[in-house]
């Protein structure tokens, strides 16, 4: 009988994943091949229409502009997050104890801020008449920012969302990179310095090669998080104004919830997952193989 025990122990997990993860995933794919609008939602009996939904989605100019916007959104955020996090991590490593503790506590505070609290705070910071950001810019002499309405303009809303997501994401990446930096033996730096290497050469030839696997891991995690980011965008702009902040997850939700075109929304969701998997496939394979080796 002992042979059966492990399977009984993992059974609840497997059943939960089957019903709450695998089934919704398959259902989403199935719906993307059906005609599924309000009528089918109420009465049921959706008919299969083959690739029609995909043809409609891929044939619309709107979809492609959303795809490009999503790629831009992901690239800008991830590059900023990685560059700033690396600089912050290198900076923390050079600080004296008290200041280091203060900076790290500050980062943890940012990290602990719930997404919805952060979106509300940022709407207040960038409020047009009473917001502290406009006051600061106007005080610094940029008079055009007095009572500037950030959320009425597509580009400036996009910029605020980037600032928000970078602000929220840097703590995790910076603290993880810093923790890894502390594991690099000091002798390596010393010998490099004796050989006359400059700061940049040391980073490129000593620090970066050692941290490369971790850089890869953090970058892929950030790509996933930023690419599928929904709550921040929905809470602040709902994809607006004029669609300027509509990324793929927001677009799929809009098409399904506001236009009641569940079939097209499901097709967009499926394409979103495919794009994400395609972008990360080589890295995911390496990561899973690595995890597999550790078992």
């Amino acid at each position: 009988m002992p042979g059966l025990w492990p399977y009984l122990l993992v059974a609840p997990t497997v059943l939960g994943a089957a019903y709450l993860l695998l089934y919704p995933l398959l259902r989403s794919v199935v719906i993307s091949f059906q005609h599924f609008r309000t009528g089918e939602l109420i009465r049921g009996g959706a008919a299969f229409v083959g690739l029609e939904n995909y043809q409609e989605v891929l044939g619309s100019g709107e979809f492609w502009s959303v795809v490009w916007r999503t790629l831009l959104w992901t690239a800008v955020n991830v590059v900023l997050i990685m560059v700033i996090s690396t600089l912050v991590a290198l900076m923390i490593a050079r600080l004296r104890k008290r200041l280091r503790l203060a900076v790290m506590s500050g980062l943890v505070l940012t990290w602990a801020t719930p997404v919805l609290a952060a979106t509300t705070i940022f709407q207040w910071l960038f409020q047009s008449r009473l917001g502290v950001v406009n006051w600061l810019l106007a005080t610094l002499g940029l008079e055009s920012f007095r009572s500037y309405t950030w959320f009425a303009d597509g580009t400036s809303t996009f910029v605020i969302l980037v600032v928000l997501v970078v602000w929220q994401s840097v703590p995790f990446a910076a603290l993880t990179l810093y923790a890894a930096l502390t594991t690099i033996p000091a002798e390596l730096y010393e010998s490099a310095r004796i050989d006359g290497a400059t700061g940049w050469q040391i980073f490129r030839n000593v620090t970066f090669p050692i941290l490369r696997p971790l850089f890869g891991l953090i970058t892929s995690l950030e790509v996933i998080w930023v690419f599928k980011c929904f709550a921040q965008i929905w809470a602040i702009s709902r994809g607006g104004p004029d669609g300027a902040t509509t990324t793929l997850p927001v677009y799929a939700f809009q098409v399904a919830q506001s236009l009641h075109k569940y079939d097209l929304g499901a097709a967009i969701s499926t394409l979103t997952v495919l794009i994400l998997v395609a972008a990360l496939i080589t890295h995911l394979r390496r990561m899973l193989r690595h995890e597999g080796d550790q078992l």
């Binding site: 025990w5 994943a17 602990a112 801020t113 719930p114 997850p249 399904a256 929304g265």
Partner: protein, 274 residues
Amino acid sequence: MRLRRLPLTLAALSVLIVSVFPVYWMVLTAFKPTRDIQADTPTFWPSHPTLDHFATAISADGFGLFWRNSLLVTVSAVLAAMAVALLAAFAVARMRWRGRRGFILMVFIAQMAPWEALLISMFIIARDTGMLDKLSMLSLIYFMTTLPFTIVTLRGFLAAIPPELEEAAQMDGASRVVAFRRVVFPLLAPGLMSTSLFGFITAWNEFAFANALIIKNQDDRTLPVWLSSFSNIFGTDWGATMAAATLFMLPVLLIFLVLQRRVTSGFTAGAIKG
């Protein structure tokens, strides 16, 4: 020497200010009288602190109800995830069986599941099964979103406890269940604690599903969704809005304070050790 460190110190101070200021500004606004909030020149120090805005936020329609909803959904999801994960983690960390490797890979993949892409099918499934506008549906989803992470961390903590301890207890005549409850469980308690707190934070903050699945029955909303519609509730009363945001953040902040002291060392060690 001091002068040479100046750029570094300045950089550190600006990072500190940028990371702390938004939260400080939220708390400060929540305590400022409306007169100061609407002043042309903002004040950066609480000169006349007031609790008025907290009173407004707490007496807002349904505030207590949404707190109760959020707590109910979060706690039930985390407890269920702990119970189910503990069983699975034990099977993975302590037993050898066919399919174990595949199971672990499945858990890792589930950890990266693109939940946002399932919003639409979850909505339709909930509607078909009469679970739309039900808090129990949210509980189920949060249970599943926190489960993979919980299994991975608990497995790490379990692996760090030497199996010889249980074996010794079993040789003294205890059954496997008794050995686990008396010997392993007490050692696992800190791990269970920190893992559940991280799960709590994830579920407490969740917005996308709460927003998509609770539509008609507004009394069943959770705090994040309620907070996202602050302009409908408080209009331009930024003091009350910031007080509401502060109250929403409070439990998360308390958890981080507890975690930081007790767990950072144990947590990472437990999570990394396979």
